[in-house]
């Protein structure tokens, strides 16, 4: 049977010439994605990548699956229509910080609160790449760019907190070149029923190089990253020498020794904990990575088909329905 056929990572890569800048973090994400799909054993024709506009949004062209490169910011809306009508398909949405959080913020908000089963990947490089380097809604204050030569004074948004506020039932983070970490959250996202939001810290080598170096550089990683795992203590650093606990006075997280009895245990179902973790920023606190929040809720498509028990099949004929009113005959 065809279901037995196994597709390799290579089978998921299209023949289209990849047009990202040499050294772009997107290459690493593409590679991890093809490997993950191969590992998951999914079929190319049952997988669809939908994207908006921007460097990240070229992603579907490079996947040997169905793909729809739509218009700026609207990928979640296009994908919603597709997933609603074809819930059996795996529908991935690839977006960026400008596409997803600026022009398309509204659609991202509604896809997440509706909890439609889209696997949304937001490649955050804190800059507009394709339009040549203007600051984005995630750019840090003071970012110098062609449109902010004196430094930006536009307050940035924290993508994960936006998702949490929108009611997302799955929020995860990973780093572009971290094959294990990224592969892990992609697998987890694939397995989640409902909308998933994955923020990928993606390095733009041309316009915003090393913007995440404070926590991605090998030398900083141990102290500046915390990989969260449900049910495990929130520890990090060399040999897990550090841990996070709640300061009861200020209701904020603080760093203590890894063995301290107050070190919190990660509970991915706890939205308050997710909020505290998502808000952390180096150097004061480590950057939280992995599945930060996951709770089960009924997906939008499940509710939709509960209201359409026949799965959108016709159970009546137009000829009968148009007579469901007062009619009269003329001989």
């Amino acid at each position: 049977m065809s279901a037995e056929v196994h597709f390799s990572a290579k089978d998921f890569a299209s023949s289209e010439e990849v047009r990202w800048c040499p050294g772009c973090g997107d290459y690493a994400i593409l590679k991890t994605m093809t490997q993950t799909l191969a590992k998951l054993g999914v079929r190319p024709e049952e997988t669809v990548f939908v994207s908006g506009i921007g460097c990240a949004s070229r992603f579907p062209y490079y996947m040997e699956t169905y793909g729809f490169h739509t218009i700026h910011g609207r990928a979640p809306a296009v994908a919603t229509g597709l997933k609603l009508f074809r819930p059996e398909l795996d529908v991935w949405v690839v977006t960026g910080d400008g596409d997803g959080l600026s022009i398309g913020g509204n659609h991202l908000l509604h896809a997440l609160r509706r909890n439609i089963g889209l696997k949304i990947l937001l490649f955050n490089n804190e800059i507009y790449g394709l339009t040549k380097g203007q600051y984005s809604p995630t750019s840090r204050l003071g970012t110098r760019s062609p449109s902010s030569p004196g430094g930006s004074f536009d307050s940035p948004i924290v993508a994960g907190l936006f998702a949490l506020g929108a009611g997302a039932g799955f929020i995860a983070r990973a780093i572009d070149t971290d094959k294990l970490g990224l592969g892990g959250v992609l697998e987890a996202a694939h397995g989640h029923d409902g909308a998933t939001f994955v923020e990928i810290f993606q390095n733009c080598i041309v316009y915003n190089d090393k913007v995440f170096a404070s926590f991605t550089d090998k030398g900083n990683a141990a102290d500046a990253q915390i990989r969260v795992e449900h049910g495990e203590p929130l520890t990090f650093g060399e040999n897990n020498s550090k841990g996070l606990r709640l300061d009861m006075g200020s209701l904020t997280l603080e760093v203590v020794g890894g063995q301290h009895s107050d070190v919190l245990i990660h509970d991915e179902t706890n939205a308050t904990m997710a909020q505290l973790l998502l808000a952390m920023e180096p150097p004061a606190l480590p950057m939280a990575l992995g599945v930060i929040h996951r709770r089960l809720g009924q997906s939008f498509e499940t509710s939709f088909y509960a209201a359409h028990p026949t799965g959108m099949a016709r159970t009546a004929r137009v000829a009968d329905v148009l007579r469901q009113t007062n009619t009269w005959s003329v001989d």
Partner: protein, 635 residues
Amino acid sequence: MTEITSSRESIVVRFAGDSGDGVQLMGTQFVTSTALAGSDFATFPDYPAEIRAPAGTTFGVSAYQINLGSEPITTAGDAPQVLVAFNPAALKVSLPLIADSALILLNADSFTDRSLTKAGYNEDPRTTGVLDGYQVVSLEVTRLTTEAVKPFGLSKSDAGRCKNFWALGVVQWMFGRELDTIEQWVRIRFEKNEVLRDANLAALHAGNAYGETAELAAAIPQFEIAQATFSAGEYRGVRGSDALALGLAAAGELASRPLMFCSYPITPASPLLHRLAQLGELGVGILQAEDEIAAVCAAIGASFGGAIGITSSSGPGIALKTEAMGLAINAELPLVIVDSQRGGPSTGLPTKTEQSDLYLAVYGRNADAPVPVLAASSPSDCFDVAIEAVRIAVRHMTPVILLTDGYLANAAEPWRLPDMDDYAPIEANEPQISEVSQSAKADGQSMAFCRDPKTLGRPWIVPGTAASVYRVGGLEKDIRTGHISYDADNHQLMTQLRADKVARVADFIPAQAVETGPSVGALAVVGWGSTHGALYQAVRSLGDSRVSHIHIRHLSPLPKNLGELLGGFDRILVPEMNMGQLSTLLRDRLGLDPIPLPKVTGQPFLVEELIEAIRAELPRPDVRAASSSSKGERI
């Protein structure tokens, strides 16, 4: 007992009151019983943008006009001969519209100092002489209604709300109509509230009895309206939005595909959303999207997945959807965009009708981005036009714009029920696997872009289909492989292909016919959309053998014979509810020089004003020979 029954071929009746008075309900109930009594009819609901505008004000007046009779009725009528006014404001708004010797039924209880002031009357119009010449019947509607519903112990305001049924009872008596369909409706509507059910029924019967009680109601005349002669068949009354919803569902049935209707609420398009939301059993799925852009995008996404994607809005929303329409054009996906036009620009006149989105539909997108455009001309015509729009979208794999308007959405008329067997199935271009030779495949020819040579539509290959996985999007693509292409020659080819594809639609649509009048003559009155009824009636009433009415359904591309047909007329008069958009289109596409007749008052054309305008353009018979040599020029 005074016998004052008069027989008429047709009559125009208008109900007017506060937007909370239940006037629209009264109108629709009266229409149903009118239809069942065998009259032809056309209706025009005229209501304010506010849900409950301050009570008693002129801007809060809601009205419902019905033209009923035996003749072919094609408009809601020019000047009402009967007015039922629930308050002074309704009287004030309606007076300029009604016929000179019209019968006016007033709710006397509403003529208080306060409501007179609110309506802007310094003095009671019943005593100032402004009503001289009209036949005024003053009824204590509020008091008599309250009395009739007393046994049910309703609050004062709830009791007052039954007055539309009391007045309806009177009107039913005036026209000799039965109460049974209304009673049936009340029983279903108030199934869960027996008190309101019984109170409304009591008010209805009390009003009806009041009419019958000759001593009290000597002044209320009765009308006997002749029956219409309909062609044989089964009929029902239908609103444009109902016919449109059923037509879209019928198209889904003919295509054997589900319909995904994705929309965002907007006046006057929402009735379509509401109706389709009830049609799940016909394979209709609804998504109320977060905004207009999401609505069209979700419809496109559903279409990519194989559903018939439909979106709907009014002008402001259509403007927002234009970028996404370009995506559907580029991706070569079927999509129907319904535009229920309203007064504009910007928010404009949300509840008033206009035909001012023709430019937007035909020309209104960035770049060379043509789409087929069609327009419905009457409430029942919406059914056929909806099927036609889906057929074109699927056959040519293109977005299609279907124009309707606020008038059509809400107006109702009798509808001879169609036989679904009369409609051909809607067939998609199947993946033509055999047509893609191995060598072509090796050369990169994608099955998804192996277009039908006649329609230029591509196969509708959907995710889930193995061996023909492909990517598509907004970037220009190679004409054969579908891969991203910035090649200069390819863009020229693709732009030409998109234009040719829409032009090819003309190969499949019927030749333009003449609605009424000769096929050559002195004057062609050319229209499109909801003005059909008024134009038809005007040309017919005028009865001048030199004048014809031509009504265009396919606005882009135009029917192939239209240029030749219009060339047979000395002059072309184009009445439109805009500043001359079809005139521009005819000038642009056919090189004609029509005479525009614009009207943008938010109200439909009156038959009388059209007759006057047509007369003004007609040469006197003795100069006819001279004028025919100066084609298209105004004397």
